[in-house]
């Protein structure tokens, strides 16, 4: 088991290095990045100060170095936690990241948990009530969940919350708690705001996962061992939850690697509409303004989340399915 984990961690590292290379290529691709812009600006300004600045910037980012040196400079700094400078915000990337990564994790992981719990419950229900009206309704919702772009759903839910429930929407806090120190009321306020982003971000993932779960469970319910379990005299609930669901979960854990990217993606777009203090909006602004160090750092962090998520899924699967061999 330990060997297996070590090997998976090794794979994850290799993947991360390649991810870094792709990230670097993306930094290098755009011709008119903010760095170029700043350098040009400094050159036209002239003067000693500017010359020093130019030299420092060129040194830091290796502007005139060959590509591999440049990559190495960026990569080694990245590993040490120096992600570069956001020219747009005039702050270090790490400080911007630090302020937002916590909420990003909160929203993403809440959505992940929400979508899994709901998907499993809905999937089990619709598989055990096949060809009934609720099952058809669920199918309709699943199709809609997959077809409606997340930001539209966010808009509709926000209008609904505002109009019908009379709630203040957008962001994760009400105005008066936004800058307040942490307290119990602030936490309650957070929970009140959290549900819209969580529901919206999880929607398409939930729709898809619950379809997968339904299909898997229908397959498993046809298995002989389910009949064996019934033939012992077990209650139907126990047959379903102990014998069938457990086996239907294996393929689901394997697709975990695909449900997490969907949530991170959804988070990026939906955060803009919902005005969330996550990395999504800053990421998109950084891209729009070619503030590439900021953008790529965020991209890398999102990819890292995924790699770690897949690692966790692999280990969970090994723990769940005794048939997995750990040579």
């Amino acid at each position: 088991m330990l060997n297996y984990i070590i090997r998976r961690v090794g794979y994850a590292f290799v993947t991360l290095i390649f991810v870094a290379i792709i990230g670097f290529i993306i930094i290098e691709l755009p011709p008119g990045s903010y760095l170029d812009f700043r350098l040009r600006e400094l050159r036209t300004m002239g003067g000693d100060y500017s010359t020093d600045m130019i030299a420092a910037l060129e040194q830091r980012y290796g502007v005139n170095d060959p590509v591999h040196v440049k990559f190495w400079k960026w990569f080694s700094n990245f590993v040490q936690g120096d992600f570069g400078w956001s020219f747009r915000y005039e702050r270090s990337v790490s400080s911007l990241l630090g302020a937002r990564i916590g909420f990003t994790l909160l929203v993403s992981i809440s959505s992940l948990i929400f979508s899994w719990v709901v998907a499993i419950l809905v999937g089990v229900y619709s598989a055990t009530h096949r060809y009934t009206i609720p099952d058809y309704l669920i199918t309709v919702f699943q199709f809609i969940g997959l077809a409606v772009p997340g930001f539209l759903l966010a808009l509709v839910l926000m209008i609904f919350a505002q109009r019908t429930l009379g709630m203040e929407v957008g962001g994760l806090f009400s105005a008066r708690y936004r800058d307040a120190p942490w307290s119990w009321p602030k936490f309650i306020d957070l929970l009140k705001h959290l549900w819209i982003p969580v529901v919206v971000i999880a929607a398409s993932g939930t729709a898809w996962l619950s379809r997968v779960m339904r299909g898997n469970l229908l397959d498993v319910l046809n298995m002989q061992y389910v009949q064996t379990a019934r033939s012992k005299g077990l209650k139907e609930e126990k047959v379903i939850w102990k014998h069938a669901v457990r086996n239907a979960l294996h393929p689901l854990v394997m697709v975990f690697g695909m449900s997490f990217p969907a949530i991170i993606s959804g988070q990026t777009v939906i955060a803009i509409v919902l005005n969330l203090p996550t990395i999504g909006p800053i990421f998109v602004n950084a891209l729009l303004q070619q503030d590439m160090y900021l953008a790529v750092t965020f991209l890398m962090f999102q990819a890292m989340l995924l790699v770690v998520g897949n690692l966790v899924a692999d280990i969970a699967l090994a723990w769940l399915d005794p048939r997995i061999q750990f040579e």
Partner: protein, 362 residues
């Protein structure tokens, strides 16, 4: 082989029958139509004996077994008929009926049938490779059954599981109890499956082709084991198979099924030496016999089994039958009648009786 002689001498009485199936109809209501899997099955399972059920693939053997367990799943349903389970205890030479349960009237998910499953009737399924849940250890799955029907602690249940695994002659039972199914060979899995079925000492065991997937040596071992256990525990076994050789080796009585009906039921010797239904005869002719000297060709049965969706008038076998009587066989369905002078031999054919089944072409 001693038991054979006993069957031919004793008269069957009410109390000897542990399971009585009367006019059982089980249909599958599928999207493409209604599959009439069982079309009036009549079957008496004698207590303390091994009853074999034979018939071609698709004739409804498994569905009969599942109906008796009330394990027929959607879109299948028992539409007519009764299944009566006599809970009997051995008393001296005979049996005493303790309780009589009409299984067909029970809620298939209700507590009553669940208390019978496993403890009174147990079942071994057709595919041993997939009958055990791959996610749990063998011990876990046996203990689950034990703890369900008996008030025992976890430790006791585990001991019971190891005991029963030893009983089915699994080497190293203490280790096997913690193994997962994929770590066992096919033969070991089938033994584990038998152990699970026997763990609550049921009085009736239904074994649906328990050895089809195994090699010949393992098959022989498993058959010996089952016969032995049956004798030890005084259990009744319904043994479903394709294989007439296995029937000869295992069974006291045989029921022959054709297209959702039992067409002949008799003690095993009568089936082999005095078959009365043309279908039984055809079945016997289709297997080679080494000891028969004369050069006789094997006769495959003419035609194919009609699919269970079709509606055939009259006797379902009439278009394949070598003794087809025009004007009789395709008009009415023969009733199941006992052969005069042999109360244990019943047959469903117009060659032997004119009795027709109540409603035409059911």
């Amino acid at each position: 082989m001693e038991s054979r002689e006993t069957t031919t001498t004793t008269e069957r009485s009410e109390t000897d029958t542990i399971l009585r199936i009367k006019n059982l109809h089980t249909y599958f209501f599928t999207v493409v139509g209604v599959a009439k899997a069982l079309n009036g099955v009549n079957l008496d399972v004698p207590a303390g004996k091994v009853l074999g059920i034979v018939g071609e693939s698709g004739c409804g053997k498994s569905v009969t077994a599942l109906s008796a367990m009330r394990l027929v799943v959607e879109p299948g349903r028992i539409v007519e008929g009764t299944i009566t389970l006599n809970q009997i205890r051995k008393q001296g030479n005979g049996y005493k009926v303790m309780d009589e349960v009409d299984i067909t009237s029970l809620d298939p998910r209700g507590p009553k049938i669940r208390s019978l499953r496993g403890s009174e009737i147990a079942m071994i399924f057709q595919e041993p490779m997939t009958s055990l849940n791959p996610s749990y250890t063998v011990g876990n799955q046996i203990m689950e059954a034990v703890q369900l029907h008996q008030k025992v602690s976890k430790v006791e249940a585990r001991d019971r599981a190891i005991d029963i695994l030893r009983r089915v002659e699994l080497p190293n039972a203490e280790a096997v109890v913690d193994r997962y199914p994929h770590q066992l060979s096919g033969g070991m899995r089938q033994r584990a499956m038998i152990a699970m079925a026997l763990s609550c000492t049921p009085s009736l065991l239904i074994a649906d082709e328990p050895t089809t997937a195994l090699d010949v040596t393992t098959e022989a071992e498993i058959l010996d084991l089952m016969r032995e256990l049956q004798a030890d525990m005084g259990m009744t076994i319904v043994f479903i198979t394709h294989n007439l050789g296995v029937v000869a080796q295992m069974c006291d009585e045989v029921a022959v099924m054709y297209l959702g009906r039992v067409v002949e039921q008799a003690p095993v010797d009568d089936i082999f030496y005095n078959p009365m239904h043309p279908y039984t005869r055809a079945l016997l002719q289709s297997i080679p016999r080494v000891r028969v000297r004369e050069k006789k060709r094997l006769e495959p049965i003419r035609g194919v089994v009609p699919d269970p969706y079709s509606n055939i008038s009259g006797c379902p076998f009439h278009d394949r039958c070598s003794d087809f009587m025009p004007g009789v066989c395709e008009v009415n369905v023969p009733a199941m009648v006992t052969v005069p002078g042999d109360p244990q031999h019943a047959v469903r054919c117009f060659l032997h009786s004119d009795a027709t089944e109540g409603e035409n072409g059911r």
